[in-house]
C-alpha cells in the first residue's frame, strides 16, 4: 500500500485585505513527489495564497505546514526547504546577478556553487552576470529568480506563474527540471492561469475562484466528474464562465 506523505498542507486559510476577502477558507495538501496546480482566474487569490504560505501577508485564519512543520513555529526550517519563484521577479535590483547569487548562496549556506553555476549555464545567462538586475529584461530577471529558487535543491518548489517572460528553450528546460524534481520525491505548488501548461505538468489541480476552492482532483478524475474534455473546459464549467463567454461572444457578433 502506498503511503501519502504530505509535503505542504494548507488548512482553512483566510486572507483579508481590509474588508476584502482574498482567500476564504482554502484547504489543500500536496504529496511528496507530485505537482499540484493551483488554478484560478485573475484575482482568484492564487498569489495571496502563496504570499500567505511564505509569511508575506497576514493570515486572518488557517494553518500552513511544510514537511510537517508549522510555518509560524519553524519559519527558518520552512524557508530553508522552499524554493520560490514569485509572480513578479522583483529582486534586489541594484545588485548584479553575481552579487545577488552571492547573497542567496550565503544566506542559504550552500557548500559550493556548482549547481548554481550549472543552472546559470543551462539558462544561458552567464553573459549577464555583471549587469545590474534593474537593467535585465523580464525574461532574464525571471531566470535570475529561477536560479535562486533551485540552487539549494529545495524539497518544495512554489512557482507563481514561473514561465513569465521565459523563452521557449528556457521553458522547456524548466519544465524538465520540475518533472525531475517531482520524480525524485520533491513537491511542487504550481500556480498559473494557463490551462495548457497546467494540464501537461500537474498531477493534481485545485481550482479557486473568488478565494474559494471550487474543484479539486487528478486531471483524469476532474474531467470525468465535471464532464469536460480538457482542463480548460473543466475550468470554465466550475468557475461558471461558459455562459458568460457565450454571451460576450454573441455581443461581439
Amino acid at each position: 500500500m502506498q503511503t501519502y506523505e504530505e509535503a505542504l498542507r494548507v488548512e482553512g486559510l483566510v486572507v483579508k485585505y481590509a474588508e476584502k476577502v482574498a482567500v476564504d477558507g482554502l484547504t489543500f495538501s500536496i504529496a511528496k513527489g507530485s505537482v499540484y496546480g493551483l488554478l484560478g482566474p485573475n484575482g482568484a487569490g492564487k498569489s495571496s495564497t502563496i504570499k500567505a504560505i511564505m509569511g508575506l501577508v497576514k493570515r486572518a485564519a488557517g494553518k500552513v505546514s511544510v514537511l510537517g512543520k508549522d510555518v509560524d513555529q519553524q519559519p527558518i526550517f520552512v524557508k530553508s526547504n522552499i524554493g520560490l519563484v514569485p509572480e513578479n521577479p522583483v529582486l534586489l535590483e541594484s545588485l548584479t546577478p553575481n552579487e545577488f547569487f552571492e547573497l542567496i548562496a550565503s544566506v542559504r549556506k550552500l557548500k559550493d556553487t556548482r549547481r548554481m553555476m550549472s543552472l546559470v549555464n543551462a539558462f544561458e545567462f552567464e553573459e549577464f552576470m555583471d549587469t545590474p538586475i534593474a537593467s535585465l529584461s523580464l525574461g532574464n530577471k525571471q531566470k535570475c529568480a529561477v536560479v535562486a529558487a533551485l540552487a539549494h535543491e529545495p524539497k518544495v518548489l512554489i512557482l507563481d506563474e514561473p514561465f513569465n517572460g521565459l523563452d521557449v528553450r528556457s521553458v522547456r528546460i524548466f519544465k524538465d527540471i520540475i518533472s525531475k524534481h517531482a520524480a525524485n520525491g520533491g513537491a511542487v505548488l504550481f500556480s498559473t492561469h494557463i490551462m495548457e501548461v497546467a494540464e501537461k505538468i500537474c498531477d493534481v489541480v485545485g481550482i479557486i475562484d473568488h478565494g474559494i476552492k471550487v474543484a479539486e482532483g487528478s486531471m483524469q478524475g476532474l474531467k470525468e466528474s465535471i464532464h469536460g474534455s480538457s482542463l480548460e473546459e473543466v475550468f470554465l464549467k466550475v468557475t461558471n464562465m461558459e455562459k458568460e463567454i457565450e454571451d460576450v461572444l454573441k455581443g461581439l457578433e
Partner: protein, 506 residues
C-alpha cells in the same frame, strides 16, 4: 488648429506629470500593491508636491526674516539664502522624479510612440518635469512677495533673481549629473561619486549658514555690480547698474538651463539601459549570511542615486563643527554655554540623521524586501546587517567629531555621542518593525502619507527622548558628566523595549 494643438500638448504634459509624480512616489515602495493602495498612492503622489513645497516655504520665510533682522550688514546673505534654499527642493525633486521615472520605460515609450517630432517630445518632457516642480518654484516667489513690506522692494527683487538663477543652476547641474551617471553605469566608481553629489544642496546650505553668516564679506563696487551672483548684494542695496547686469546674467543662465535641461529631459525620464562593458562570468563567493547581508546593504545604498548622498550628511555636520571650532578659537570665544549650544546644534543633528539611515537602507531595498522575507533569515540577521551599517557610519562620524572636540579641549563630548549609539540602534529596531508591518499589511504602512508622518514623528521620539533628557540635564547642570546616567537609562530602556517587540514580531 493651433488651439487644438496647444490643448493636445497640455493634455500630454498633464498626463506625463501625473505618471511622473506617481512613479517618483512609488519607486521605492513595494511592488504588488492592491488597487486600494494604488489609489492611495496616486492621491498621495499628487499631494506630495504640496508636502514638499509648504515646509520649504515656511523655512524660507524664517530664513528671509532672520537674514533681514540679524544680518542687515551683510546684504549678500539675503539673496544667497534664497539661492541656496531654492536650490534644494529643485535639485532634490528632479533627482527624485528622475529616479522614479527611470524605474520603468513607460513614460519614454509612451512619448516616443506618439506621432510627434523628437524636439516636441523633449519639450513635453521638460515641461512635465518643470510642471511637477511648479509648487517648489512658486513657493519662494510667494514668500518673497509676502515679505516685501518687511524686507523692502530691492531685497525682494534680489531674492526673485536669486530664485530664478537657483532653479536654472539646479536644472543644469542635475542634467549634467544624470548624463554622466547614465554614461558611467550604476556599478561604476565614478557614478558612486556622482550619486554622493546629491549632498551639494546641503553643502551649499551649510556653507551659507555656517560660513557666510559668520564671515564679514566685503565687496568692492566692481564685484557688487558686475560679478554674477555677488552683484545680487548690489541689487539688495538698490544699485540699478547691478540690477541690469544681474537680470542679464539671469536671462543667460535661465536660457542655458532650459536648453541643457530640455536636451536631457527625455533621458531623465528613461530607464537606465546599462549593458555591462565586459562579458559576464559566474563569480560567486559563499560568505557568512551576516557578511553577505552587510555587503548587499553597502552595495545597495551606494548605488541608489537618490539615497547615496544621505550617508554623507552626518559628515557635513562634522565639517561644520570643525570649522566652527577654528572660528571660535580664532575669535577667542569659548565658554561652556558655547559648547552646550554647539552640542545641540551640531551633535544632535548627526544623531537625528543617523537615526533615519536605517529607513533609507530599507527604502533602498524596498522593492526586493518582500523577496528577502522569503529567505531563511532570522529576524535579527537582516536587522543586524542594518545595525552594523548604520552604526559604522554613525561611529565614524562621531569619532571624527569627538576627535575634533578633543583637539579644541572638550573631549568629554565623545561620551554622550557614543552612548547615543544606543538610540541610533533603537531607531534601527523601530524601523525594522515598521517595515515588517508594512510588508505583512500589503504596503499600506509605507504608501500612506499619514503612516509616513507617524513613522517620522515616532522615530524622532525614539532618538529625541534620551537626547532631550540629556540636553535638559546639560543645560541645568552645566556639566557633561552629570546627566550621562539618565541618558544611559533612557536609551537602554527604549532599546530593550523595541528589541522585545521586534523579537515578538518574528
Amino acid at each position: 488648429m493651433e488651439g487644438r494643438r496647444r490643448s493636445f500638448n497640455s493634455i500630454l504634459v498633464k498626463s506625463v506629470v501625473k505618471e511622473l509624480l506617481y512613479q517618483g512616489y512609488v519607486a521605492s515602495r513595494l511592488t504588488g500593491m492592491t488597487p486600494g493602495d494604488i489609489k492611495k498612492a496616486i492621491r498621495a503622489s499628487n499631494r506630495s508636491r504640496i508636502f514638499i513645497a509648504v515646509p520649504f516655504a515656511i523655512v524660507l520665510l524664517v530664513i528671509v526674516l532672520e537674514g533681514y533682522f540679524f544680518f542687515k550688514g551683510n546684504p549678500l546673505l539675503f539673496p544667497l539664502a534664497v539661492l541656496t534654499w531654492t536650490f534644494m527642493p529643485t535639485f532634490v525633486t528632479v533627482i527624485q522624479l528622475s529616479y522614479g521615472a527611470s524605474a520603468g520605460p513607460q513614460i519614454r515609450e509612451f512619448l516616443s510612440t506618439l506621432p510627434i517630432e523628437r524636439e516636441k517630445v523633449d519639450g513635453i518632457a521638460a515641461g512635465a518635469i518643470i510642471n511637477a516642480l511648479s509648487y517648489s518654484i512658486i513657493a519662494p516667489v510667494a514668500i518673497l512677495l509676502i515679505s516685501t513690506p518687511v524686507v523692502g522692494v530691492w531685497r525682494m527683487i534680489s531674492g526673485l533673481i536669486a530664485d530664478a538663477i537657483s532653479v536654472s543652476l539646479a536644472l543644469i547641474l542635475v542634467s549634467l549629473m544624470m548624463k554622466v551617471y547614465r554614461k558611467a553605469g550604476s556599478t561604476n566608481r565614478l557614478s558612486a561619486i556622482i550619486r554622493i553629489g546629491i549632498v551639494i544642496p546641503i553643502l551649499l546650505l551649510s556653507l551659507s549658514f555656517g560660513y557666510f553668516q559668520t564671515s564679514v564679506i566685503r565687496l568692492n563696487s566692481i564685484e557688487e555690480t558686475f560679478v554674477p551672483i555677488l552683484n545680487l548684494a548690489g541689487v539688495a542695496l538698490g544699485n540699478v547698474d547691478a540690477l541690469s547686469f544681474s537680470i542679464l546674467y539671469c536671462v543667460i543662465i535661465c536660457f542655458l538651463g532650459y536648453v541643457a535641461f530640455k536636451k536631457a529631459s527625455i533621458s531623465l525620464l528613461s530607464p537606465l539601459e546599462l549593458v555591462s562593458s565586459k562579458i559576464g562570468r559566474f563569480n560567486v563567493t559563499v560568505r557568512s549570511p551576516s557578511i553577505a547581508m552587510i555587503l548587499a546593504d553597502f552595495r545597495q545604498i551606494t548605488r541608489s542615486p537618490r539615497l547615496a548622498g544621505f550617508i554623507a550628511v552626518p559628515f557635513i555636520y562634522v565639517l561644520i563643527t570643525i570649522f566652527q571650532g577654528f572660528t571660535f578659537r580664532s575669535t577667542g570665544v569659548k565658554n561652556i554655554l558655547q559648547t552646550q549650544v554647539q552640542f545641540v546644534s551640531n551633535v544632535l543633528p548627526v544623531v537625528a540623521i543617523s537615526s533615519f539611515l536605517a529607513y533609507v537602507l530599507y527604502l533602498t531595498e524596498m522593492r526586493g524586501f518582500a523577496y528577502l522575507e522569503t529567505l531563511p533569515l532570522s529576524v535579527y540577521t537582516n536587522v543586524k546587517s542594518k545595525l552594523i551599517v548604520v552604526l559604522t557610519f554613525y561611529l565614524a562620524s562621531v569619532s571624527i567629531m569627538g576627535l575634533s572636540y578633543l583637539y579644541f579641549g572638550n573631549g568629554v563630548i565623545i561620551l554622550p555621542m557614543l552612548i547615543m549609539s544606543l538610540s541610533v540602534a533603537a531607531s534601527v529596531f523601530y524601523t525594522a518593525l515598521y517595515f515588517r508591518y508594512s510588508v505583512r499589511s500589503m504596503m499600506v504602512g509605507v504608501v500612506g502619507i499619514l503612516n509616513q508622518a507617524v513613522f517620522t514623528v515616532v522615530n524622532l521620539f525614539v532618538f529625541g527622548i534620551p537626547a532631550a533628557i540629556y540636553s535638559a540635564g546639560l543645560f541645568l547642570t552645566n556639566n557633561f558628566f552629570a546627566p550621562l546616567p539618565y541618558l544611559i537609562i533612557a536609551s537602554l530602556a527604549e532599546l530593550l523595549f523595541l528589541a522585545r517587540l521586534l523579537a515578538k514580531s518574528g
